[in-house]
């Protein structure tokens, strides 16, 4: 088990390494002249040259890469080209916001998706299954940001249950924090619920046809116990989807963060890309991939725990 964990961790580090390198060169290749973006169109060539020297882009690309990469290995993400603050400090401010919203959204997806998927899967073709299917199409068709707009109008402006915009840090007030991330999390979650419910429904349906389910019934077990067996055997598919959702939401929260004025990674990404602030973009990428690696590792461990065959080997 330890070996398995180490192997998966190693694979994650390789991924982190490859993605970091790829993003570094992609960013430097795509944003060929960051000084223009940083200083605006009114800057003189002299100003541009001065900035170029200050941020080090007059050096060969490999030197720049080494400077950056060796820094990252030491845990130093460098300085923002925009305001010359350390990237790490700014990330530390923004990450909790995005992580709160995305984690809450993933939680909603997991719980609601499971309830819907199991109910629909146990009675395929029944009214709940058909309603779920219809709702699925609707939810799939509505982009998350559009849902955000409706949620804001109803729950924040008309009913005033939740704040329309802004973020309250967790250490300031728990209820304030929860209220500030509820609407964004719900709008992020809606699409994912559909995917998880669908996965789980089909997995439950397939498990329900297995011989051992009939045998369990023949032993006199009630539906509730049978459902637990079905859920245990169907959960790998759903968990994999949930993990993928988390990854997707991590970077997909940009628009929703914009709508709800949440000072998270998404907003930071958007600003940094418009400013040509490459160190900041690289820092965001690295930190995002770190979360992805952690989630994938956790997924692998849970899947191994769920599947006795994988565990024994």
């Amino acid at each position: 088990m330890l070996l398995f964990t180490l192997k998966r961790l190693g694979a994650g580090l390789v991924l982190l390494f490859v993605v970091s390198i790829a993003t570094f060169f992609l960013a430097h290749f795509a944003i060929s002249d960051p000084t223009a973006a940083l200083l605006g169109t009114s800057a003189t060539p002299a100003q541009q040259a001065a900035l170029a020297e200050k941020i080090g882009i007059d050096q060969p690309i490999m030197v720049q890469f080494w400077n950056w990469f060796s820094g990252v290995l030491r845990g130093d993400f460098g300085f923002s080209w925009r305001n010359f603050q350390p990237v790490g400090e700014q990330l530390a401010l923004k990450v909790p916001v995005t992580l709160s919203v995305v984690t809450f959204a993933t939680l909603i997806i997991a719980v609601v998706g499971t309830v819907f998927g199991v109910t629909a899967g146990l009675h395929p073709g029944g009214w709940f299954d058909r309603v779920t299917k219809a709702v699925s199409v609707v939810l799939f068709a509505l982009p998350g940001f559009w849902v955000s707009l409706v949620l804001i109008t109803w729950f924040a402006i008309d009913l005033m249950w939740f704040p329309a915009v802004g973020y309250v840090p967790l250490d300031q007030s728990f209820t304030g924090w929860l209220r500030s991330i509820t609407l964004p999390a719900v709008s992020l979650a809606l699409g994912g619920i559909v995917a998880v419910a669908e996965q789980l429904r089909n997995a439950i349906l397939a498990s329900n046809r297995q011989d051992y389910v009939r045998t369990l019934r023949s032993r006199g077990l009630r539906q509730r116990s049978i459902t637990l067996h079905l859920l245990r055997n169907s959960s790998p598919a759903a968990l994999t989807t949930i993990a993928l959702m988390f990854v997707g939401l991590l970077s997909g929260s940009v628009v929703v963060e914009g709508i709800f004025s949440l000072p998270g990674l998404g907003q930071l990404t958007n600003q940094s890309s418009q400013n040509g602030d490459i160190p900041m973009l690289l820092g965001i990428t690295v930190i995002s991939v770190v979360f992805v690696v952690i989630v994938n590792l956790a997924l692998d461990l849970v899947l191994a725990w769920l599947n006795p065959k994988a565990r024994v080997q």
Binding site: A30, L221, S273
Partner: protein, 635 residues
Amino acid sequence: MSATTLTGTLDPARARRSGLFRRFLRKPAGVIPLAVFVLIVLVAVFAPLLAPYDPNYVDLAVAKSPPSPEHLLGADSTGRDILSRLIWGTRTTLWGALITIVTAVVLGVPAGIAAGYFGRAFDKIAMWVSDALQSVPGMIILLVVAAGTRSDFVILMATVGVFMAPGYFRMARSTTLMVRGETYIDAARVSGLTNTRILSRHIIRSTYAPVTIQTALTAGIAMGIQAGLQFLGIGDANTPSWGAMMSEGFRVMLSNPNILLWPSLALGITIAVLALMGSTLAELIQLRSPEAKKDRALARRARKGAPGVAVVTEEEVRPEPPALTTGTLRHIAETSALRVESLRVTYGTPAGLVEVVHGISLDIAPGEVVGVVGESGSGKSQTVFSVLDLLPDGGEAHADGIWIGGREVTRLERTRRHELLGREIGYIPQEPMSNLDPSYTIGHQLTEPLRKVHGLGRGEARGRAKAMLERVGIVDVERVLRSYPHQISGGMAQRVLIAGAISGRPSLLVADEPTTALDVTVQAEVLELLRELQAEYGMALLIVTHNFGVVADICDRVVVMQHGDVVEEGRIDELFAAPADPYTRELIAASLDDADGRAELDAAWAASGQTEAPAPGVEQEPRAAASGITTEANR
């Protein structure tokens, strides 16, 4: 191309495909979204003709004006005609989705087919790249690309396509893997077809439908992402787009909801029709369940007029037809262990109701052992499942009466009837491995019913499970209890299932081909065990088999079934001495020819148990039954 004119073509693969399209069109959930989508495409193509105004023409005088004859949907906050922008935005949306899809298909599908077909290193590398792409925060890369290319629309949408490619890759790969496993591909390879021919003739063709479905869904997602980017202000300000319109509408959402409404509706409807088309198509080509296949086979046989299967329409079934019951009842209902009166089993199929058991009767006295013999498809297992009330989906049992332990149960509520399971009735299935839940330990599977059905405490249940396992001849009980099903042998799994069946101390034990899936030597041991247990607990035993050797071995009485009818019934010695029905004679003869008579089984058993070398022709697997656990787990 008219799909209906193609019905008569001779090429089966083509007919299948055109048939798929026709079935798609026949469904309202297929044809309506398709029509709407075609309309949307037409709007995009003829945008220059349809749009009443230049989409970028600013007329401040009509800014934020409500719908009017001049501006059918009103004007936006800078006075541009909403309808015209909507029509031109359709073009942008579809064009962007097209770029995304082409990129994703070109990158994903060939790679997926190659990975699935050739496997090995290419598969590994491609899988890694695909997984990596799914782990990369795509939106960040998109924004970097947007910043670097000054939001070049084509490059941005193609980048979205790169991130969509893993979906196609996985789909093409799994489809290829599935097709590759089919026997006809082996046949093609053996007959000397080259890889290229096999790929182009068989495999690529089978990816059409999945690719189409994936495309419908991907297009929807791509449109959502596109709108999201435009909403963020990424993209050319002079290109009218739904996302940009929504962004603008968002700012004046409260005062002028109209401006936000129209692009939202357009986007929602477009994605919805795509999703509907995709899911309808998917429903049409979904893998059928084994039961559905069986049903279709039955229906086909029924249409051909095969003996023993009758198609009956709803009206014919109820009111009850003048039932010709086959079989013999020998005991008084109230004192019998099991009594089945005129049982019919039907399955609902597209061709109507198909009857697979045509009114059979049989009974068992307490302590009696009755064999039900017949070839596969004779209705034996259906009879067993009807007794248990655990018929597969779509199956229905009608009987004049089913008595279990002297009690009529057909009129009981379903939950009441299921309370008999595990208490009055024990069930031993046919295939030991598939009848144990792979995710739970043997110990859990044995103790769960004891605790939840019989109300035993944890320790008590464990004690009972241990005793039961010891009773069925398992040596290393503690270890087996801790094992998962894949860690034990088939023979041992069957012993575990027998232990599970008898642990509720039932008065009736129903065994559905309990030895068929086992090795010859284990068969003998398991039969011996069943006989001992039956005698020890005084249970009535209903044993279903196609093997007269088994019948001769342990049964008091035998019921011979063919095509859903009972053709003969009698005491075992009488029936063997003078079989009345030709089918019975055939079955007995077949058993004596190639299957295992008692003497042979005994010899094989003795050989495997007492000497080191296995008897000739007997496989040496079953020693595992004695030694505890197969080596699988230790490998």
